[in-house]
Amino acid sequence: MAVSPTNRRTTLTLPASTLDTAKRLASKRKVHVSVVVNEALEEGLRQKLALERAENFVQRMSQAFAALTEDELLLVNGIHLTEKKVRRGR
């Protein structure tokens, strides 16, 4: 993977076994090890971003619903109740 306006060269410290696996996969596919490391990194980051989005979503929804009283919950679930009219005796 060449350095270009959208690519940057950097130095990473990786476990030897991780680098060995990346090199083996790169050799098998006849691509540079950077390609394999980049693909793995992109996939890992995509999953982490998805989890971060999911955590934000659940936090917001919990904030929206957790502290509602039972009566308020009925309302936000679209259930609208009215007080019964009390019949007075003669």
């Binding site: 999911a54 659940v58 309302l75 936000v76 679209g78 019964k84």
Partner: protein
């Protein structure tokens, strides 16, 4: 876990309030959007508005924060477009009246007209799931089972949409 799903109004809040539901939602939402019908957003915002209007002054601020926290990301809100309107109309013709009675407690009750309106909203939500080809997550078996049965029994009226698929939210957690 299969998905994506459409979530009924009460299923979305049920899952958000239960600890096990939130755990499941976290896993689900990391893979898919939590789709809802535009009708759910309408029911939700109307309900929050009524709750705020009826609340004592010292609770208004908190309820407003809760309403604003409700996620209205437009990517997850499915519109009521022509196809949904058409499927909902077929369902309303097949099932004009709600299969379960109005809510009636010793002190308060749901009026007949309010019950019918809520039933029609449920039909639109079910039609949304049907047209978008996603199972509907719900916590209201009696009403949505009737809709599922109608789509199965009258498949010819739903031109290739198939049968409404249902997932009870208490069964996923």
């Amino acid at each position: 876990m299969n998905g994506p799903f459409v979530f009924d109004t009460s299923a979305e809040s049920w899952l958000s309030r239960e600890q096990a539901g939130r755990r499941w939602l976290l896993q689900y939402a990391s893979r898919h959007l939590v789709y809802v019908s535009a009708v759910t957003v309408m029911e939700r915002l109307t309900g929050f508005g009524m709750a705020i209007a009826q609340a004592p002054p010292d609770r208004v601020g908190l309820l407003t924060v809760m309403r604003d926290a409700y996620d209205q990301n437009p990517n997850r809100v499915l519109p009521v477009h022509q196809g949904v309107a058409w499927a909902a109309a077929e369902l309303m013709l097949l099932l004009p009246m709600p299969p379960s009675p109005a809510i009636n407690s010793h002190r308060r009750m749901e009026s007949r007209s309010t019950r019918v309106a809520r039933w029609r909203f449920d039909i639109i939500i079910a039609a949304t799931a049907l047209v978008w080809g996603m199972p509907l997550v719900h916590e209201n078996a009696r009403d949505f089972e009737s809709i599922r049965e109608a789509t199965a029994r009258h498949a010819d009226r739903f031109r290739g949409l198939g049968e409404l698929a249902l997932v009870r939210c208490s069964s996923v957690v």
